[in-house]
């Protein structure tokens, strides 16, 4: 099927070369970082994780969100998702690849990465995260590939793929739970030390991921002859609405616990993020942008009359995606490090090389996504009108 990715319009090739240009720039920036160390980033002794790990965390959520298509389709027999479930699985593949690249970009000694497997450490959440992420990548590659290949041949997928599909449901939940545990189990970090961290992660993932899918599905309809259909997009819209509600609700719970209990250490990070602490307020505008976008998107999503207009839905999804990207891909990680262990404030802002590398990882993800979607869309165009039964 890979050959389908080799025949495309000028726009397709232009887009791929554009992405490759960014990837090339990122590669050079990475060589610079590799040679000079992570000192070329904005990271410091106090804020030892930043943009890379934030993006990693956010993208694990995007990857996990494929399950929001898999559950209705395979467990509840919601047939309408039949044509687009592959879009979710392929999005998961590119998201996991981005996650891995961000982890590699963040490592001080990337050449020693195999030490994780040479000295497996069962008590380390990071070890488990490596295991579940690789497993999830494997699951989605084989499920996506096998089902799409069957579709292209007009036959039902083989029975043996079913267990893998069912396994992918708890697995998707596990990747984001384990990622949340990276944060939620650290004794000195009050901002992260929260029992609902994993729940918050899942809620934001199931809002942000499907929102991105809606945008992608609308783009696919606009750019290709394949129409994902009105109804599945509306169904996704409902999922986004509920999940975003849960996400905002969970964030409210965090605020309540921190401020009603009155424990200063639990409030510091919130102060820093939303109002500034000790005169440091670099993240305040960003966090308020995120909050406003969250409210706007939620307002547009709640009323079915708005949501049903695809233009409004698209706008709401873009706002929501940006909102969550700021909140989880940036604020959540940095907020946990402020104030530091001595209750001093150090601020963080990504440097230019760091930003280029980050953009390049996203470009790589979009490159993989484009190629995979090209294959999926071509198959769909060829089988247009045929009912798919998995």
């Amino acid at each position: 099927m890979l050959d389908k990715a080799l025949k495309g319009s000028r726009g397709y090739w232009g887009w791929l070369f554009f992405l490759m240009g960014i990837m090339g720039a990122g590669f050079l920036a990475y060589l610079y970082q590799f040679k000079n160390g992570l000192g070329v980033t904005g990271l410091s002794r106090d804020i030892s994780w930043g943009l890379y790990i934030g993006q990693f965390t956010f993208l694990v959520g995007v990857a996990a969100s494929a399950v929001m298509l898999v559950i209705p389709y395979y467990l509840h027999d919601y047939k309408k998702f039949g044509k687009i479930v592959i879009l979710g699985e392929f999005l998961a593949i590119s998201a996991v690849i981005m996650c891995m690249l961000f982890i590699m970009a963040d490592m001080g000694q990337p050449m020693r990465v195999m030490n994780i497997f040479l000295h497996p450490t069962l008590n380390s959440v990071l070890f488990w995260d490596t295991v579940v992420l690789n497993g999830y990548l494997f699951l989605n590659i084989i499920i996506g590939w096998i089902t799409l290949e069957s579709d292209s041949k007009g036959i039902k997928p083989p029975q043996w793929i079913k267990p893998f599909i069912y396994l992918s449901v708890p697995w998707a939940v596990s990747i984001h739970t384990v990622t949340a545990f990276i944060y939620a189990g650290l004794p000195g970090r009050h901002f992260w030390l929260s029992a609902i961290m994993a729940a918050r992660f899942l809620a934001s993932a199931f809002a942000g991921g499907p929102a991105l899918l809606i945008i992608l599905a609308l783009l696919v309809r606009k750019l290709t002859k394949f129409d994902p259909g009105k109804e599945p997009i509306q169904a996704l819209g409902k999922i986004v609405t509920y999940a975003m509600f849960a996400n905002v609700f969970f964030l409210g719970l965090e605020f309540f616990t921190a401020f009603y209990s009155g424990i200063p250490a639990h409030q510091h990070s919130f102060h820093y993020l939303y109002a500034g602490l000790d005169g440091y307020n670099k993240l305040v505008p960003l966090m308020w942008t995120s909050s406003i976008l969250a409210v706007v998107s939620l307002f547009l999503l709640i009323f079915p009359s708005f949501r049903k207009k695809e233009g409004v839905l698209a706008f709401a999804c873009v706002s929501l995606f940006i909102s969550l990207w700021i909140d989880k891909g940036f604020g959540l990680v940095i907020g946990g490090f402020v104030p530091n262990m001595f209750e001093r404030v150090t601020e963080y802002w990504p440097t230019i090389p760091e930003t280029i590398i980050t953009l390049a990882v996203w470009a790589t993800g979009f490159f993989v996504l484009t190629v995979l979607y090209k294959i999926a869309v071509t198959v769909r165009e060829e089988t247009a009108g045929i009912e798919i039964e998995h």
């Binding site: 992570l38 450490t121 200063p264 262990m341 209750e343």
Partner: protein, 282 residues
């Protein structure tokens, strides 16, 4: 296949018990011909069940006292001086009370304690979060309680830095053998008997394992005895007769963030005389 003797011995033991595989094992042994070699601790090595330190702040009078301890440590261990907080690497350093013991300060406490600097270092916790999170066992707890860092194995993921509640860990953001902005080497004078670190690994205080192994006290403890006996006291927390235990059972000591359960092995004496003193009545 590598020829690791300890693994080999384990293998040989299992083989002998099972009564199989002996031939293959003996073949290997003959090739190797190192059956008599072994690893042991040195004859002068200091041993303990759980190493601990008592820091008596009353013995630190002048800024010079702090500096001597810090310099002794940092020069012995080739700790680079980046002179900027972003890339900074430190094993032992001073902090004011409110930063050393956040949450313990109050607006009315006496000026002396408030303004006093406390010497901070890795707490070598009995229940260390850094060890719990490390994905490669690059940081681990030794049998004598020392939380050790294996720089050969560290992959630089910095999970331990996020996990350490005491900010005791530093990362080599830049090459520690490089030069600063003024062209001066970051390590002013290399101690040729101790390694430096490489770029991209995490490091911290090791309670001077290399000195304990040859019967010496940690560098900071040794130098503190030069200006005042008992400023830094090092010993076995598990031994009721040890000096650290005697001080801890006689005086009021506090530990950093003891409420989170990591069980630090560094104790601070706050009061100024030999009787137990509760900070509130100072």
């Amino acid at each position: 296949m590598s020829i690791n003797r300890r693994e080999f011995l384990r293998l040989a033991g299992v083989s002998a018990l099972a009564g199989v595989g002996g031939v293959a094992v003996f073949n290997k042994l003959q090739n190797n011909a190192l059956e008599a070699s072994e690893f042991t601790a040195g004859p002068n090595a200091l041993n303990a069940k759980r190493w601990a330190m008592v820091v008596d702040m009353s013995k630190f009078k002048t800024p010079e006292d702090y500096k001597r301890c810090m310099d002794a440590c940092h020069s012995t261990h080739n700790v680079p001086n980046f002179s900027n907080p972003k890339d900074e690497i430190k094993w032992i350093w001073p902090e004011k009370f409110e930063h050393a013991f956040p949450g313990q300060e109050n607006p009315y406490m006496n000026e002396e304690t408030k303004e006093k600097s406390f010497l901070l270092l890795c707490n070598h916790c009995d229940n260390p979060p850094c060890v719990r999170v490390c994905p490669t066992k690059a940081t681990f707890k030794r049998k004598d309680g020392i939380v050790m860092q294996d720089m050969h194995r560290c992959i630089g993921c910095r999970f331990c830095m996020a996990a350490c509640p005491f900010g005791a860990r530093s990362f080599n953001y830049r090459n520690p053998r490089g030069k600063d902005a003024n062209g001066q080497p970051l390590i002013k004078e290399e101690n040729a008997a101790y390694p430096t670190r490489t770029i991209g690994v995490v490091e911290k205080c090791t309670f001077c394992t290399e000195r304990l192994a040859v019967g010496k006290l940690p560098a900071c403890v040794e130098v503190s005895n030069e200006f005042s006996k008992g400023g830094l006291v090092f010993g076995d927390l598990d031994d009721p007769g040890s000096e650290v235990r005697k001080i801890i059972s006689a005086k009021y000591t506090i530990r950093r963030k003891s409420e989170i359960g990591t069980q630090p092995s560094v104790f601070y004496v706050i009061g100024g005389n030999d009787y137990a003193i509760v900070p509130e009545i100072l």
